[in-house]
Symmetry: none
Subunit: 234 residues, 2 copies
């Protein structure tokens, strides 16, 4: 199941074009968080994707659009600034290796300012479309089109994307890894922590995980570590 | 040299978006054949691609836009109708194999009816972006974006060794990760442990690590976790 999430989109034409793209590339659900434009006008730009727009789910809060997802992928035109853990990104063709989950969400920010750091923090992976270093900033709907194309392309081509094969790792395991990492992070961070340590370890594990067995062993390791700290403090 | 040729484009926003995409993906020239829309209005949609639009070459005839090209690639949303030789197409990722020419032109037709059969006939290859069979017809500028992305992508991926780019992660960082993982493992394992948890986590991190910065953040996380346990036990 593939869901596109638009966060506070500002342009009618972008929302309409994106609905059309969702139809072109077989997206299952469109969620729109707190739209800043007229969705009725957007229909004019959606051509035969209008049904997707008319059936889209409009929600007030970011979390309402992502809480039930197994894998949350945020996107940004700003990526890989030195020293900024949050902005470390993967390319669309690297993203392909991680899509063997049930409910996958592709999350796109505002035309003007993209996603906030808080929003990116709540996601599992950050994807950046590399472009001309002089001007890599794509228009919103074109970024959506390229990401959706890449996923569609990967379904059509055989396993040409080498790299790590992401076996069948269950969503439960990913959620448990995230849960214990967050809990450990809460125990060891200083109050002014920016979450770098948590982000770095979570993303490395997600990217590097090979199969369910490994995932469960990691959950065991993290849980035992967490319990050790909790019980030591009793 | 890469040239984008638009034949009788009808929508200002498409022309503007395409100029922006040309900038995003390093296109050298934009030719517009007999435009059917107001190019001044198009500038509004071109963002920082406006210079490409202002420097575009407007010509009256199709042949004026293509006569000096070494390779002429036409595009269509209609492809591979049975028995129709003209419409036999290649995919964008197959197109990549033919781009070792000096002057390459990517030719896109009208929003309403695409390129004529006569126009396609004058080109060397026909590219079709495969999409949902129920509705594969992309908006013009989104088709341009995907074709340009595919070319840009091929330049980047041919430089990579495929898979996750493994930056320059120092041996020191890898050793520190290993040291703290081992120390934590010693603290939490039962005596009969076979080391599964340790192996799983270490290998996932090593495979998934993106760069030295991430590596150091992970070392910090592991060290703080270790110290927390040690100090709790004092």
């Amino acid at each position: 199941m593939l869901r596109v999430v638009l966060v506070e989109p500002e342009g009618e034409y972008n929302v309409g074009f994106i609905a059309r793209l969702c139809k072109n590339f077989g997206v299952d659900e469109l969620y729109i968080v707190n739209p800043k434009c007229d969705l009725k006008k957007a229909v004019e730009f959606s051509a035969k994707g209008s049904s997707i727009l008319l059936n889209s789910k409009v929600v007030d809060k970011f979390t309402d659009a992502i809480y039930d997802l197994d894998l949350k992928i945020s996107t940004s035109s700003i990526a890989d600034s030195k020293g900024d853990m949050l902005r470390k990104s993967i390319s669309p063709w690297e993203m392909i290796n991680y899509l063997d989950k049930n409910k996958i969400g592709l999350i796109f920010g505002r035309e003007s300012v993209g996603l906030t750091r808080e929003e990116i923090f709540m996601t599992d992976l950050l994807v950046h479309i590399p472009g001309n270093p002089d001007y890599p900033v794509l228009n919103l709907s074109h970024a959506v089109g390229i990401i959706l194309y890449e996923i569609w392309r990967s379904r059509l081509t055989s396993k040409e994307n080498s790299g790590i094969y992401h076996g069948a790792i269950s969503s439960d395991t990913l959620k448990l890894i995230d849960k214990y990492l967050l809990a450990l992070h809460d125990l060891v961070r200083k109050s002014d922590s920016d979450g770098d340590m948590y982000l770095a370890l979570k993303r490395s594990i997600i990217r590097g995980l090979k199969d369910e067995e490994e995932g469960r062993a990691i959950v065991r390791f993290l849980r035992k570590t967490y319990m050790k700290i909790i019980h030591s403090n009793e």
